[in-house]
Each structure stands twice: as structure tokens, then as C-alpha cells.
Point group: C2
Chain length 220, copies 2
DNA sequence: CGAATAGTGTCTGTGAGACAGTATTCT
DNA sequence: AGAATACTGTCTCACAGACACTATTCG
């Protein structure tokens, strides 16, 4: 019954970060065929001997190929079929990952390439589809969870938090309503005595109450 | 580089239906090892020669093992690892599927077994985890989409629709608020001249405006 | 007739947008 | 001083729950 060749199994990571106030995808330039030299999602084979799960493989590959430990790594969906990879029938388990701003020179050293999330660059495999799915999932989930906060450093001001939500949701939010909702949802707590001095006037720093993503019922 | 054995790839389907007013999982009794004779999710190998995608494999397996064409078949998540299946390192792409009430005798003929979704029967593999994930996803998505309607026949009354939402959400809904919201969202349209006579008083029959699932912003 | 379900109208509380207005610090 | 950002208070509208009320059909 199992004479047919098994499909091969990979993982691909849609890694997002913020660079100079814009949502950016972190891609990398492939070193090996197929599509050597092309820019693509960070991805690779699942190694059964080495990886405890597919998520473990994604973590390993992020570390090996980008030198990054993402703050969030969640499964998105699995893409499969005979045509998506020239090597044959394959399945790729796609993840999305979030990391706070990374240094540009570290990125270049690791052959990483930044691209605006909104852009539709020509990518190999079905990576454009994967990114499209990530964008959709990401936008919807961002509206009712603390996901966007993981694009910030662990301590942040309310303005920074609002701006990252605005960026992700693609619309402006009412400042006072935002403060009110965040307050009522009890998602964040002030860091005693810590003030940010990055803007005109010092602002209270906050941190998330929970270390993981929290989903809530209302929308932000 | 590829001397390691490839993981093997399966699909598993969490098939839901309604039987006598209760949400029921449709499981089946396995005929082959591992776990022959045990009740488990409907699932099987992806056949690269035969299946265009993993979703196609899930459709085929639903047809072959349950004789069912589901009205909804959506990907849930992929479960992987060395221990979830005694045959070795595996990945299973899990789907959830919805079908309106099925006849009990057809179910028995196909070795199908019904089990309440809420129950926690001892299942082989990691099928309990998969069902848990399905229940969670399903509940959340049901609150802001037309998903529950696909547990009904194509034509249904407003009461039936409300009751299926109540079943899925696990709480009662206010009848008048429900009518108002459904009306404003323009999700369904009346079927001219069609009246259901299943209850004390004839009721207007409706159908979905869209053939697929529609997601909306507000919650039901 | 009485029970049961279908369907409508209205009151009310709450959440969220809009926006004015105050406070604090920087240049 | 003036600009810019942080933060607060209030008004108002819209949505959702509650509930009363009418309508229609069945036993």
C-alpha cells in the first residue's frame, strides 16, 4: 500500500517585524536550489531525527537561518500539492512569527531581506499564497487579541501600543476609546516608576500581564 | 541530506453533525492496525498520486470511509511528532467538516459511531487533542460567521437557526435580538411561499445568501 | 379554548466614537 | 512662549438584552 513515494514535509515561517514605523516581512535569500539566489520565506525541511514537532523545526530553522528567537510562533495552515515545489508532492506547514524591531546590519549579515507586508513581490513556491493567508489571519486575530503587542519591546507606552494596533488594523483608533478599552480589559499593567522619554513628554511604561497571547471577546 | 526517513502524512477529519438536537461527532471503527477495532477520527494517508491537495485527500477519505460529502471542509491545524502514531514520525493535517443530520442506519452500515462533542472518550493517537482544538476553533468562529447554518438543511426557519447557534455557543440567545442581527447582516433571504410545518405554527423558511461561509465583524 | 411557537415593538443600559480641554515637557 | 504629546472628562449615538405584546396554528 505504501509503494507511492511519501510527500516531503517542510515548514515556512512568515516572520513579521516593525522597521521605522512600517510592518515588514523578513525574507531571506536562498542559498540552495530550487530557486537558489531568489528571495523567499524562511523555511526548510522537517528533520524527524532532530525535531520533536513541526513547531520545533520552525524554531530551529528560524535560529539557523535568521538567528532569531521569535516572541510568537503560531501555526497558520498547511499548504500542499504536487505543483507548489518543483521537487515533487510536498506539504509545508506554515507559521507566523513576530519579533520586535531587529537591527538592519544584523539582518544583512544573515542574508535577510525586508519587504513591506502590503507589497506583492514575485516569490517562488506558493509563498505569495502563504503570505496572503498570514495577512488575513493576522489582521483578524489582531483585532481581538494582544498579538500586536509582541511587535513591541516588553515595555511600551500606550501610544506605542495604539500605533502598532493602528498599523496592523490599517486604520486609526480613537485615543481615548483605546485607553478606556485597554484599561477595562486589564491586559497590561504599569511598570512602577518607569517612564519613556522618547517623545515630547515622558509617558508611563506598561507591560503585558500575561506572557502569551490573550484573546478577548470585544474588538479593540 | 535526505537520508533520514521522511515523516508520513495523513489527514484526520473532525466531522460534526446534529442528531436529535445534540452536537455529535462522527467517528468510525478502525478496520486496520494500528488500533484496529478502536473508535477514532475518520482519517487516512494522503496519496500523492491520487490527491491534488490534502483537502482533496480529506474529501476522498470522507467519501470512502463514511460515504459523506460534507457541506463544509476547512483546515484546522497540523499535528506532528514522533509519538502521536506508533508507526513513527508523522504529521496529520486535521480538518473539520460539517454535515446536516445523517440517518442513523446509514451511519451504522458504514461502521460510523456517534459521540457527543462534549464527551471525552478515550481515543487513540492524539485524536483527543485534535478534537479539543476543533471545539475551540469551532466555537470562536461560530460566533461571527454563518458556519453553524451548515449543520442545517439548505432551508431552515429562524428558530432552527437560532437553536443551532445556541447549541454551538453553549448559551441561549435572545430571540428578538437574534432576528434583528440576522436581518441587519443580510445573511439569509426568505424562500418565497415556503413554510415549515414542523412546529405548532408554520414558519417562514430561509436560505443562506452565499453558498460558502460568511464571516462578519459583530458577534451573533 | 389553551398551549405553543412565530414574530414585532419598545425601553434601557452599555460600549465606543468624537471631541474638547488640561497637563507636562521639549525646543 | 509655543509646539507636541500625554492624559482625562463628557456628550451622544448605536447596538444588544430584556420583555411585553400580538398573531397564528395545533390539539
Amino acid at each position: 500500500m505504501h509503494l507511492e513515494p511519501r510527500p516531503f514535509l517542510t515548514v515556512d515561517v512568515v516572520l513579521l517585524t516593525i522597521v521605522s514605523g512600517e510592518l515588514q516581512l523578513v525574507l531571506h535569500r536562498r542559498k540552495e536550489p530550487p530557486f537558489a539566489g531568489r528571495v523567499a520565506l524562511i523555511g526548510g525541511y522537517v528533520h524527524p531525527q532532530e525535531d520533536a514537532t513541526a513547531a520545533g523545526a520552525a524554531e530551529r530553522i528560524l535560529r539557523e537561518k535568521a538567528g532569531i528567537e521569535a516572541r510568537i510562533l503560531d501555526q497558520l495552515a498547511t499548504f500542499s500539492g504536487p505543483a507548489r515545489d518543483p521537487r515533487g508532492w510536498s506539504a509545508s506547514i506554515a507559521y507566523y512569527a513576530l519579533t520586535p524591531e531587529i537591527s538592519l546590519k544584523a539582518a544583512e549579515a544573515a542574508s535577510l531581506v525586508l519587504a513591506p507586508l502590503a507589497g506583492t513581490a514575485a516569490l517562488p513556491f506558493d509563498h505569495a499564497d502563504i503570505i496572503g493567508a498570514a495577512r488575513q489571519r493576522w489582521r483578524r486575530r489582531a483585532a481581538y487579541s494582544t498579538l500586536p503587542a509582541f511587535l513591541l519591546a516588553p515595555q511600551f507606552t500606550l501610544s506605542e501600543l495604539r500605533k502598532v494596533y493602528e498599523l496592523v488594523l490599517g486604520r486609526t483608533l480613537n485615543d481615548s476609546a483605546f485607553r478606556r478599552k485597554i484599561d477595562e480589559l486589564r491586559l497590561i499593567e504599569p511598570v512602577d516608576g518607569a517612564k519613556s522619554r522618547n517623545s515630547d513628554r515622558p509617558a508611563q511604561l506598561y507591560r503585558l500581564c500575561e506572557t502569551g497571547v490573550v484573546e478577548f471577546d470585544r474588538t479593540i
